[in-house]
Symmetry: C2
Subunit: 236 residues, 2 copies
C-alpha cells in the first residue's frame, strides 16, 4: 500500500473515531500535514482519494468537509470488491450450487472477449444475509486468467482469493442493472414467488490492465437488498 | 469551462470520430500534447477527468486505452445531470401532475436538512421515453435555494434551469436504489399493473458547497428502464 493510501485510511478512521457528521469541517491542509506527518503532495493525494471514495468533499476556498451517506445495510454499487465489504456488519454466507469448467455461453464469451472454445469456470451460488436469501449468482471466469478455483474458494469471497491467492489486480467494472420478474427457478432459489420483483445486475469485471476476467449475472431478493451509489460532480 | 475540460471533450470526440473500441490504445502522452497543443499538466488533468468519467483507463508503463461500455439506452446512475443526457438519442417528454409550494414531509425535511416549517417546491411528474412511460417522479426542492419554479420550467430539464437560469453549481449526490412492487396509484401513472416490479430510487442532490437542494423519489417502469454504472478501482 502506498503512503497516501495509508494516510487516507487513517483520515477515514479519524472521521469515524470522532463520529463526524455530514458537513463537519476537517482541519485545514497544513494541520493535516502536521497531524499525519506527511508532505503537502501526499496529503493532497490522500484527500483526492477520499473524495473519489465519497468520504469527504472539498470546497475551493472554504475547506474540507465530511461526506456521510450511509444508510445502514445498503450494498455499494461502486465498491469493486465484492459486497462482503459494504455488508461487513452482516453475516454473509454462501451455498455453492454448481462449480465446473465448461465452454462459455455466447453471451459470456462476448462479454469476456474470448473465443467460444476457450474454457471458463462456471460458478452458481446462492448468497445469504443473516440467514435470508440475498441473491442468486452465476459467474463466468476466464480460465486463462483465473486459473484455479475449488469449492472451498467459491464458498468464501472469490475476490479475496483473486487478489491475495492469485495476486491479480482488480480494476474497473461495468454494471448493468434493471428490475424484472422472477422466473420460477430463480424464485425457488431465493424463496420467493415466480413473478415477484428482482433486481438483476450484470457485471463485467476487469483487471487493471483492462482484461475482462469475470462476467456475472446476479438476481437479488428485492426484500433483502438495497443499493447505494455516490455520484460526484466531475462529469461535464 | 476550463482548458483541461475542453481538451477532455475533444479527446472524447476523437475517440468517437475514430470509432475506437474498448482496449484500443490512444497516442502516447507526448503525442497528445502535440496534437492538442497543450502542456503536460493540462493533458494529464484531461486524462484524469476522462478516466473518472469512464472513457479511458490508464495502465502504468503501458499506455492509455479506450474504455467503452455503453449498451445503448441505459441510464447512467453516475451522471449527475439528470438523465436527459444519458438518453439523448431518445425523445424524453414530461407531464406535470403537480407543482406547488408547501411544507416538506418529515422525510423530505430530514433529507434536505431543513426545518419542517421551511418551504419546498413540490413537483410531481411523469416522464416518457419515446411515448412510453419511463418514471413517476416526486421531488422536493429547498425553496431557499431553488427560489423559483414554474410549470414551464418543470416541463423541461429542471437541472438545466438550476445551472443556467439560477447559476447554481450542482455537486455530488447520494442515490439509494431498490426494487419493489408497484402500488395502485403508481401503476396507474406508469400504465402497469399493481404488484408489478419497479426500480425505486431516492436521491439527495447537493450543491458543490455540500448543501442539499433536492430530494427526489422516482419509481421507474421496469420495462423501459435499465441503468449502467462504471466502477473504478480507486477503492482500497
Amino acid at each position: 500500500m502506498l503512503k497516501y493510501q495509508q494516510i487516507a485510511i487513517e483520515i477515514e478512521k479519524f472521521i469515524e473515531d470522532h463520529t463526524l457528521q455530514q458537513g463537519d469541517k476537517l482541519p485545514v491542509l497544513e494541520k493535516l500535514m502536521t497531524q499525519f506527518e506527511v508532505s503537502k503532495s501526499t496529503i493532497t493525494k490522500s484527500l483526492d482519494l477520499l473524495e473519489k471514495k465519497g468520504v469527504i468533499f472539498q470546497v475551493r476556498g472554504s475547506g474540507i468537509f465530511v461526506r456521510r451517506h450511509k444508510r445502514k445495510g445498503y450494498i455499494s454499487l461502486l465498491s469493486n470488491q465484492g459486497f462482503k465489504e459494504s455488508l461487513e456488519d452482516f453475516n454473509i454466507t454462501t451455498k455453492v450450487i454448481e462449480l465446473e469448467v465448461r465452454k462459455p455461453t455466447q453471451e459470456a464469451a462476448h462479454n469476456l472477449n474470448i473465443e467460444p472454445d476457450n474454457d471458463v469456470y462456471y460458478v452458481k451460488r446462492v448468497r445469504y444475509i443473516n440467514g435470508q436469501t440475498l441473491c442468486l449468482e452465476e459467474s463466468f471466469y476466464n480460465k486463462s486468467i483465473i486459473t484455479y478455483l475449488n469449492k472451498e474458494i467459491v464458498s468464501e469471497s472469490i475476490f479475496n482469493y483473486i487478489r491475495e491467492g492469485l495476486g491479480l489486480k482488480v480494476g474497473f467494472s461495468d454494471l448493468y442493472l434493471r428490475a424484472d420478474k422472477l422466473k420460477e427457478e430463480e424464485a425457488k432459489y431465493l424463496g420467493l414467488k415466480k413473478g415477484e420483483p428482482k433486481i438483476y445486475v450484470e457485471t463485467i469485471f476487469h483487471l487493471t490492465n483492462g482484461q475482462p476476467f469475470d462476467f456475472s449475472k446476479v438476481s437479488y431478493n428485492y426484500e433483502q437488498s438495497q443499493f447505494f451509489i455516490q455520484a460526484n460532480s466531475h462529469f461535464l
